[in-house]
Amino acid sequence: MRYLLHRLVQGVLLLFGVSILTFLFSTLAPGNYLDEMRLNPQISSATLDALRSEYQLDRPLPMRYARWMNSIAHGELGYSFAYNTPVAPLLWVRARNTLLLTVTATLLAWALALPLGVWSAERRGRWPERALSWFTATLLVVPDLVLALGLLILTVRSGWFPTGGIASVGFENLSPAGKAQDLAMHMALPVAALVLSALPILVRHIRAAVAEVLDAPFLRAAAAHGIPRRKLLFSYALRAAANPLIALFGFSVGTLLSGSLLVEIVMSWPGLGPLLLEAILARDLYVVIGGVLFSTVFLVAGNFLADLLLYWADPRIRIVAGAR
């Protein structure tokens, strides 16, 4: 338990660090939202000054940081200049969509990669394994952007899936089952892009980790005892190879988050990606900081989940942590 608590505290500290870092970057940068307004001849300099003091842009940095922290405590995450509302509700709707996408993609990618990796570790050198490794090598050299655009063209031409957005027109009038189906159809394309971009790295690592334990004496002994091959692979070998894979899981969450940012924009999925891009183009400072912070929260949550898994899977960690 203490181990987990330790990791949790580390995660929170990390969030603090990220918030300070992004805040610092934001003030080092020249220009702000009001600079764009200044170019508009219809806005007087008095109005600008009033706005400046209203948004507190004339205060020193520590004061602004403290105020921002205060607004986080109230669940607001600062104030959006462009949308004229607190940031949190704005981000929350989008973050839910991003989360839907990344969680589905992460689960699906791992559900595909685990059997593929274990299976190809067992059949090293045979032709199906070689075909698979060619496939993963090909996927590995295709950049995310190209993959996303390619899938988009494919679906636009074929019309198999709806492109863009999260729901069809008239989504409200559908039955629950119809709603689920509609959502799944809209998710298919972005999820496919994310899974395909994450898959090759996962399969390769799983294969390497499992191949390493396959030659271990305990597995040969188990095989000699007549334990079925499938049980041997998936419960004995996989368990022994679990540690680096769990670390990889935490890492894959970060990669998928970055990937989803791009995929969301390309496929116009209403997640954090398009919002963040708009906010950057409008110089809407707090929305950008909020978006980065949200993504870090997801990442910390993903890593914490990996820690939980590790705690559950590796008795050594429990014992060491308990003895402390």
């Binding site: 950049p143 952007l145 063209i153 950057i280 110089r283 400072l285 950008v288 978006g291 980065v292 870090t296």
Partner: protein, 350 residues
């Protein structure tokens, strides 16, 4: 064995980069020269046999002609074959960035030959891809060099001096590693001015990449420095009275070279892709300067995406480079592993 593989991949990559470096010579036209009469022209076919079935020794093509009753559909004007000329003189350019030159590998008189089609403003896609490669690859290469310098400096500082500097720098590195990199790059870009000249944007992209990427090489270098510091010959040198500067220069920093090389092979394609992503979204290199990213940006329009397949070609251009760098990274990795085994056996790594 790995040495041979490294050499092979280096030759492949060298060839690819040479192609892009000589963009001015290989590209028939200036990348920003427009031809408003011929927007979104499909790639021109180069023929050897003309409409009358006669064989020509000199490759030729037919100029575009508007289809009857259409205002944006072109067909080949088969009445007049236009010959191509090799080593023709055309638009002025600077070969490799400094040699003033006007000879091109091939050229045409009058009507332009669009090997890979034209874009919305009638600019030659083939020339733009070649020139765009210069900017994209250069930003990747310079970004990697910058990142590695920063990483090596910070990693060496942290590893060699240890103590509070080490913990401070490594906590900072963990912070940067923890953030999803694209979000970080976005945030950095958000805080910098939006409308800047292409050169400034180019520098911004490079600095942004280095800021996002320094943490991983720094941690790896720190590990190498930590172990090198405790090696017997380093201790001996210190015993003979060698100062910190001497030790770093002669014994510690050279040890980090293989890690840095491997990292370079991994970072360059990543950074080229990052530049592509930024420019694609309109946050990187601005028009009219071409880069692989902003060449793809027009695909964000639905009509372009579905109608003009040749606008997709810049995306294909990056693939051989990614293959090359991945091959090189794998070969370097094997080499590193082989070196380690030799050190463990007690052999001399050099």
């Amino acid at each position: 064995m790995p040495r041979g593989r490294i050499l092979r991949w280096l030759i492949v990559l060298g060839g690819l980069h040479l192609l892009v470096a000589c963009a001015g010579f290989l590209a028939p036209y200036d990348p920003i020269q427009q031809d408003r009469e011929h927007p979104y022209l499909a790639p021109t076919r180069v023929h050897l046999v003309d409409a009358q079935g006669q064989l020509h020794l000199r490759p030729f093509f037919y100029g575009p002609r508007l289809k009857d009753g259409s205002f944006d559909q072109f067909e080949e004007d088969t009445s007049k074959p236009i010959p191509t000329h090799f080593f023709a003189s055309g638009a002025r350019y600077k070969l490799l960035g400094f040699l003033p030159c006007k000879v091109h590998l091939f050229g045409t008189a009058g009507t332009r030959l669009y090997l890979m089609g034209s874009d919305g403003l009638g600019r030659d896609q083939f020339s733009r891809i070649l020139y765009g490669g210069q900017i994209s690859l250069l930003s990747g290469l310079l970004g990697a060099v910058f990142t590695l310098l920063m990483g090596a400096l910070i990693g060496t500082l942290a590893g060699f001096f240890g103590g509070w500097r080490d913990s401070l720098l490594m906590r900072l590195a963990e912070l940067f590693l923890a953030l999803p990199w694209l979000y970080l790059l976005f945030a950095l870009r958000a805080f910098l001015p939006l409308t800047v000249s292409p050169l400034k944007a180019f520098l911004l992209v490079i600095v942004g990449l280095a800021t996002v990427g320094w943490a991983r090489p720094a941690r790896l270098v720190r590990g190498v420095v930590l172990s090198a510091k405790e090696r017997d010959f380093v201790r001996a040198a210190r015993g003979f009275g060698a100062g910190n500067g001497y030790l770093l220069r002669h014994h510690i920093v050279p040890e980090t070279s293989s890690v840095l090389l491997t990292q370079a092979a991994i970072l360059v394609p990543q950074f080229v892709l990052a530049e592509m992503t930024l420019s694609f979204l309109g946050l990187g290199i601005p028009e009219p300067a071409p880069s692989w990213g902003n060449l793809l940006a027009s695909l964000q329009q639905f009509s372009v995406l579905v109608s003009y397949w040749w606008m997709y070609l810049p995306a294909v251009a990056i693939v051989p480079f990614v293959v090359g760098y991945q091959g090189l990274a794998n070969a370097l990795h094997l080499d590193e592993a082989a070196e380690k085994i030799e050190v463990q056996r007690g052999g001399d790594p050099s």
